[in-house]
Point group: C2
Chain length 224, copies 2
């Protein structure tokens, strides 16, 4: 079967494989694309995660539950989980999106994963979809520090340095590569008092800074 | 049974009446209040309505489905449905909220109704909660013009007058009653070319204007 590996990783066999096919179809590929399924899947995801958080954290007030959930269902987390599933390889993308590496773009990956959840809901109902959602999310939640979830790497790094009364990191654009419409930014993050310089690359300065900050933060954590 | 009438209107009998009790408890009344249930219920509501709209409108694109849903799950619609259930009478409110007529406040009513949906989810699972949600919403959806849903009365009135090339209505504050902390505004809405004047009362000028516009719009519709 074409999507056997994906179904195995999802822990779910579709009764109606055409739903899976549709969940994997980006609007650039066909009019029979996944956006309506994404709408449905987004709501299943929200509900499954809400129930899980409600049950798992009986003492957390509503505001904290909301904050946790919104950090779990955001594009960034969805894209990470989609990458774990190698979802990008299975996507049906139009030629333009394929050439511009759309199968790696977080928004496309996140949308397709939501569409997958919607497809399972249609295929076998809420409980089946909830099981698929939690099968992916619970391992992620368990290994994630919920206190830091949703804070970006620059914020985490800055808070850590402040807690040690160290000066803030300095970010510099070291290089801009590629043509105007497809540039790659190389940014360094320097923490002089720790003698630490890290580097990040990304399609924008902001992304490159975040990656550099993430690497600096990891290095500090490892040497502590 | 204490809440027999409410349960009958909901079409649902609680296996665990303490969940119903909690859903009806505002934070001003007790620390065992309904806010966590509201968090849960909000997500069930979203999911049940998403599934209903997906199934009912197979040709609507994702953007329209999202817009429809957000207009159905907003505070205004929830408060209307809560009023139909006479939910206000059943709420457990602290003394301050009782004295300031909190049982009529849209936000308190809407939150309690969401909490009720959450309570049904915990009591008997997603399908039971979905059934309660749709039992309330489908009659509302069926009688609502989805094209105008989410547009406020002033907007609808203005669009209607513009389509007939008539001048816009004039709103005037006719009276402000009551003491400073509990004022009631009386606003008139005049459409000179139709010789029509309507009036609205509310706790703010904005609300009074909307009510006056709603009445003018109804009058125009009835005489057409």
């Amino acid at each position: 079967m074409k999507h056997a590996a994906l179904c195995k990783r999802l822990g779910y066999q579709f009764l109606q494989p055409q739903l899976l096919q549709r969940a994997l179809t980006h609007r650039s590929y066909s009019a029979a694309h996944n956006e309506r399924l994404e709408f449905l899947g987004d709501s299943v995801l929200n509900c499954a995660i809400a129930k899980y958080l409600y049950d798992t954290y009986p003492d957390l007030p509503e505001g904290d539950l909301s904050r946790l959930r919104s950090n779990l269902v955001n594009q960034q987390t969805l894209a990470i989980l989609a990458q774990q599933l190698n979802l990008g390889e299975q996507l049906l993308l139009g030629e333009g999106e394929r050439k511009s590496a759309g199968f790696r773009r977080p928004s496309i990956l996140a949308d397709a994963l939501e569409a997958l959840f919607g497809a399972v809901l249609l295929d076998a109902g809420f409980m089946a979809a909830e099981k698929v959602v939690l099968g992916l999310y619970v391992p992620f939640i368990v290994q994630t520090d919920l206190k830091t979830l949703g804070k970006d790497a620059k914020t985490l790094l800055q808070e850590h340095l402040q807690s040690r009364k160290l000066a803030l990191p300095q970010y510099h654009v070291a290089e801009i590569k590629g043509e105007a419409h497809a540039q790659t930014f190389v940014v360094t993050c320097e923490i002089a008092q720790l003698g630490l310089v890290s580097q990040g690359e990304g399609t924008s300065r902001r992304i490159a800074e975040q990656i550099a900050a993430e690497r600096a933060y990891q290095q500090i954590k490892e040497t502590q």
